[in-house]
């Protein structure tokens, strides 16, 4: 694990030496996010987002635990208990807005983190396991976010639960039984709210556990870098602390600044007004839409409007789950040995198109289903699948990559002008 030139933990304090002998916890931290973890020296700001995701999870857990002290998971009083948090609990409005917008910030940061992985080929060997665990975390986050959105028991909570659990009824033969089993009844009700609260409290700790595995798996090959070139020697790396702790502090500051602007000055910007209306099983909202972070997947679901062998609804559900599950196969779909898209001119273009494509899907997911939007969604959904399942393997096989730099240090020095060996020596 790690590189041979990694610094070793050598406690000088007798107390720390004693602790290191009995329980080497400081050693673990030192090797994980301290001076004992050598990291490529050329990481750009996109490498901040892993730490930011961890910070977002910590914020969600802390605010969530305090909110749970005041929230009542009962269909009769849940909505009112959220309002009492907003009005009567000390700083309750802050906790609740921080938690609700914290979910958006967490997903935003993770989407950028995933995008970083796609662009710089971080999913490729030898980091496949890091990627696979990351997709597991993403799936757990989606489940947690969905169940959390149900808890305030507003109109969108209720009808969102109705629609999302309705996906399972598309499964032939057993679908309806599965849906009823998941809800604990024929429609969302108290049983649903209670189990969602229980799972919403549990899953973040499962996510934290998988994050430990994610980081563990990362520390075996070490971090990727913008060139995608392997670390060749000590001159290619710097210790995580203080170099990247200092850089992450800058990223954390900017992250918190954006987060603060959202919480304090526009806390309902990303929410839906209907969720300030208490759940009413007898009144369906005009447009049922999920939170922004699910809109691209919702657009994929809605794009399947034709029955072909299977019913349209089943196609939609298969495609929606498939659109995430295909990420598990990505390390083997892309056979190109070059990691960074900076050196893959063809792949880079298709990847930028994919990014725009997902933004279009997000727009369509929230827009009214008029013909123009449906057509737009169907084209965008087709590109999404074509990109990962057809284009990516073909591009990987046929593309001629640009020449890679000899090492990370060489790339860094070329950027600063001049690649003479003398400069490499003193760098």
């Amino acid at each position: 694990m790690s590189f041979p030139w990694a610094k070793h933990y050598e406690p000088k304090q007798p107390l720390m030496r004693w602790l290191d002998e009995k329980l080497p916890l400081p050693r673990l931290v030192y090797n994980a996010v301290g001076a004992g973890y050598p990291v490529p020296r050329n990481l750009n700001y996109f490498w901040n987002f892993g730490v930011l995701a961890g910070a977002a999870l910590a914020i969600q857990i802390v605010t969530g635990i305090v909110l749970a002290m005041h929230f009542a998971a009962n269909a009769g009083v849940a909505f009112g208990s959220v309002e009492s948090i907003m009005r009567d609990v000390n700083a309750g409005w802050f906790l609740r807005y921080a938690h609700a917008n914290g979910a958006s910030m967490f997903l935003l940061v993770v989407y950028i983190h995933i995008g970083r992985g796609l662009y710089y080929g971080s999913y490729k060997a030898p980091r496949e396991m890091v990627w696979l665990l990351g997709v597991v975390i993403f799936l757990l986050m989606m489940a947690t976010a969905f169940m959390g959105y149900v808890l305030p028991w507003g109109q969108m909570s209720f009808w969102g639960a109705q629609v999302i659990t309705g996906f399972f009824s598309a499964i032939p033969l057993v679908g309806e039984s599965i849906r009823v089993w998941l809800l604990g009844g024929f429609a969302p009700d108290n049983a649903t709210l209670n189990r969602f609260f229980s799972l919403h409290y549990l899953l973040p700790f499962v996510i934290a556990g998988v994050i430990v595995l994610h980081i563990w798996a990362l520390h075996i090959p070490g971090s990727n870098n913008p060139t995608g070139v392997d670390v060749k020697g000590e001159q290619d790396t710097v210790p995580f602390h203080p170099y990247y702790t200092a850089k992450d502090a800058v990223g954390l500051g900017v992250f918190l600044l954006v987060f603060a602007l959202l919480i304090f000055f526009s806390p309902n910007l990303l929410g839906h007004p209907d969720n300030y209306i208490e759940a009413n099983p007898l009144s369906t909202p005009a447009h049922i839409v999920p939170e922004w972070y699910f809109l691209p997947f919702y657009a994929i679901l809605k794009s399947f409007t034709a029955d072909f062998i299977l019913p349209a609804k089943l196609w939609g559900v298969l495609a929606m789950f498939g659109s995430i599950l295909l990420l598990f196969f990505l390390p083997w779909l892309d056979s190109s040995p070059v990691r960074s898209a900076n050196y893959r001119p063809t792949y880079r273009i298709f990847l930028i198109v994919l990014l725009l494509d997902v933004l279009v899907l997000g727009y369509v997911g929230g827009a009214e289903p008029i013909a123009r939007n449906v057509v737009l969604g169907q084209i965008a959904a087709a590109y999404y699948f074509a990109h990962f399942l057809i284009i990516l393997p073909l591009v990987a096989a046929s593309e001629r990559p640009r020449p890679l730099p000899g090492s990370i240090t060489e790339a860094v020095l070329a950027k600063h002008g001049g690649t003479s060996p003398a400069k490499t020596a003193i760098a």
Binding site: R87, A246, P273, F304, A319, V375, A382, A386, I390
Partner: protein
């Protein structure tokens, strides 16, 4: 093998989407969706620019008191305010005695139980009570309102898109149904018992025009009570009922932003200092 299967799966999804796309286009051409009266005549509210807007926004307490007066004398006949307590009115600048007087003199009493007989009864409101509903239950509310249910107003400013401006626009938006609309969409005549209002989502609202004439609410502070003024004031009041902690939020926000800007500046300096000898 993985790539072969993926190619087949990808081709299947793309193929089905192509069929669906063909169907969408064919339907759009052969059977285009008709334009609806709602889509064409529904209007979006204009911004009324309250004092509470913006980074430094604070409530105009005199306006909130006027808005409360409009709620008390007009809205409260049908609409409840169940998440707001009388004690909360202290935030509008009323003294403890005034809050107590408002609670005791409130026209609708608080449901209660006779301590001797156990029979259902009512008692005078006290500051810790929430505003009582004008109706005993939903059935009573519907029976009194042509089968429409007057919604609770506590959160109305957040429960509609652009809620504050919407409340003002809706209150000012009652008018005769345009002849052009009826000509273009026959069969959309506002049914009896409903009222045409292009700011309401489906254009026809059950609520009769609540603000009917200037001077309807004789303002205690002497402000001229035009219909527009009353609509603005009650929109401001309902913004407060929906978000009573707004001022505290803005103040905490400014402090946080200043703190975080200093933090970012220091972190940036530390970052430059740590990395000064390493090219990257």
């Amino acid at each position: 093998m993985v790539r072969l299967i993926s190619l087949l799966v990808g081709a299947a999804f793309v193929g089905v989407l192509a069929i669906a796309l063909f169907g969408t286009v064919a339907t759009a051409i052969s059977d285009p969706a008709p334009e609806t009266a709602e889509a064409k005549y529904h209007q979006h509210p204009e911004n009324i620019g309250l004092a509470s807007n913006g980074f430094f926004g604070r409530f105009d307490r005199r306006q909130l008191q006027r808005g409360f007066q409009v709620y008390k004398e007009v809205c409260s006949a049908c609409h409840s305010l169940k998440y707001v307590a009388f004690r909360d009115l202290a935030d509008l600048g009323y003294s403890e005695g005034e809050v107590k007087a408002i609670a005791t003199q409130w026209a609708i009493e608080q449901p209660s139980v006779n301590p001797e007989t156990g029979e259902a009864t009512t008692r005078k409101n006290i500051p810790s009570d929430r505003f009582p509903s004008p109706f005993a239950n939903e059935v009573a509310a519907r029976a009194a309102n042509n089968n429409a249910l007057p919604p609770d107003l506590s959160l109305m400013a957040k429960a509609r898109h652009d809620g504050t401006n919407y409340i003002h626009a809706l209150l000012m938006g009652y008018r005769a149904q345009p002849a052009a609309l009826l000509k273009e969409f026959p069969g959309t005549k506002t049914p009896t018992g409903l009222h045409y209002n292009p700011w309401f989502a489906n254009l026809n609202i059950a609520m009769p025009p609540p603000l009917t004439s200037d001077g309807q609410v004789p303002y205690a502070d002497g402000t001229r009570a035009t219909k527009d003024q009353m609509a603005r004031d009650v929109a401001a009041f309902l913004t407060w009922t929906a978000e009573p902690k707004l001022e505290r939020r803005h103040a905490a926000g400014l402090a946080s932003v200043v703190f975080l800007l200093i933090f970012c500046f220091l972190a940036w300096g530390a970052y430059q200092n740590v990395w000064r000898d390493v090219k990257h």
